[in-house]
Amino acid sequence: MALLELRNVSKIYHLGGEEIRALDDVSLDIGAGEFVSIIGPSGSGKSTLMHILGCLDTPSHGTVTLDGIQVEKASASELARVRNRKIGFVFQFFNLLPKLNVVQNVELPMIYAGVSGSQRREQALQALEMVELGNRLKNRPSQLSGGQQQRVAIARALVNNPRIIFADEPTGNLDTHTGEVILALFRRLSQEGRTVILVTHNPEIAAVTPRRIEIRNGRIAEKVDARLAGLDRLAASATPAAAVAGA
């Protein structure tokens, strides 16, 4: 069974009586330890897909299973719990809290996980060592470079030891060189066995991942990932497990 399973997922917005299908009947499996990029132009529905995969949003139709949890039925507080324990987010604009210093920012997810103070500090230090920022603990985010801020964000994403890391345009706000350093970091995380999902509009960045999922007009463009075509066909015959095994 895959870590993430989407079955016939649609997301429909109603804008002034007009129905907008941001996602249209998408089925998708992502296995544990995969390094995947979701690629597509803006407005293609890739952000919506990421929100649903990241448990920030729930689908209008279809089912989402994350590590055995039925996400589409979960309440807001259950979703918050899943985000806290299972998922780490890295955003384009870093999204660090400006009033907190580096360690406090990294500790933030553990506060909501109910980890004790001393253990929080210890785990935060470990995570910061991993991104080589063990020497900037007391700095505010505004005192760091973009690349450093993004590494703090990655440390924050890692600190609760989640099963999946989501990165939404993680290099979009960085220069090419720094961006490569960050991408190398994600590659390393993938090699260490974590599931990493990169969301980007840039094919060059998507090229670093072994598997690419292209979204167009709310649907998965079949030509990019041959495996998904087979998956769709098998999903229709209601044996998704066989599909994954076959792939």
Binding site: L56, A76, S77, R83, F89, K99, L108, P109, I111, Y112
Partner: protein, 463 residues
Amino acid sequence: MTLWNAIAVGLKEIWAHKFRSLLTMLGIVLGVSSLVTMSAMVQGMENGAREALVAVGGLEKIRVEAQSVPVEQRHLRDFATGVTLDDVRALEFSAPDISKVSPELRFDRPPTLAAGGKTHRTWMTAGVWPIQMQLMEHVIEHGRMFSDLDNELARNVCVIGTGIRDELFGKPEDTGEPVNPVGRTLTINGYPFTIVGMFTHYESEQDRKVREARLREQAAALAAGKTNAASGARRDRGWGGGGGRRGNFAFWIKNNTVYVPLNTMWMKMKSGESNAPAVPKLSSMEIKLRDSGRINEALTQVRNVLMVTHRGIEDFSFRTQEDRAEEIDTFIRNARVSGGLIAGISLLVGGIGIMNIMLASISERIREIGIRKAVGAGDGSVFIQIVIESTVIAVVGGLMGLATSFAFIRLISFLTPTDNAPVVTAGSMSLAFGASAAIGILAGLLPAFRAARMNVIQALRYD
């Protein structure tokens, strides 16, 4: 998220916006301090009023006064006896709810007291029995109360209060040494009386403190070797005397008492009057009850006894301290309610200020709320964080308000010194503090609800 964490985050948020938080707290500070100050001042007034009530004999004391015959009994007025010694005797024997009773016979006009070339007129001159001393809660400072024998023999002796001593023989504060008038002679309307005793000086707690402070100052000035620079022509500021504050009226009256034996009063001062009746008619009787809880029963008893001695003619009336006690209660209650209302309104305004600033704060922090939610803060955690922040503002404001109230009280007693020192009670402080905390929680609810309901995706995108 533990409670302690949330409080720490709240304090940090306040510290990050020091000036804004201070302005926001100001409402609560004013509300709490006005509540505590108001309550302290009312408490001071109440203490003063209760002291005065005790000084005039407390709730157990009843006065029976002679009164003209009621209209429906006008035709019987020739048979009306008035309040007489017979009544006193009858009450002593027939009214078990009464512990003491003393007759009182006063002059029709204030008599002239004179000694050493000084004169003084006072209403509070009366012929009484020795038991009056206990009835009116007098305490002898020098000498003695006149005895039953003095009364029996109608001796020309008297006992005076310190106010009379001050007027006729000089104040100890002015002469610098104790003035003991016992053994000296004064005249009442020209008749010489020997002073056999003087009562102690009665004063309210506040007056006593003021006087002692002044004494200490004088002692310090003397120790420093300064002469009294303010000496010169002594100035008398008229009625009430002493050139200083008159203090509480009840205490002033008590200090200006002159008691002579009832028989002396009757035989030497009254019976010579042209219209004097054969049997002395008393001005009034002072009655002390055994139990202040049985006022109504005792009054019925006294009335029944007196209706017999007066042969059914109701030419007397009662004056109890109940009215006075009720007046005090009503006044205190009104002062509490109106003061509490004002303080409550200012607390409410403070609460609205907090709500306003919390609403502004969450719209400034939409992105922060989005981030917190994205990394796993539930709606409940966000809700609690905002409520705690507003509560922390209110509680810090409340603590500052408590501190400010002491400054307020000092300022007010400096600007308008009264007889009644404000008394800060623990009850009013905890009430004010509790109210500020409750208002903090209430003011945080709406902003917290809005923050908790924010959509995480929209909040993350907001800039």
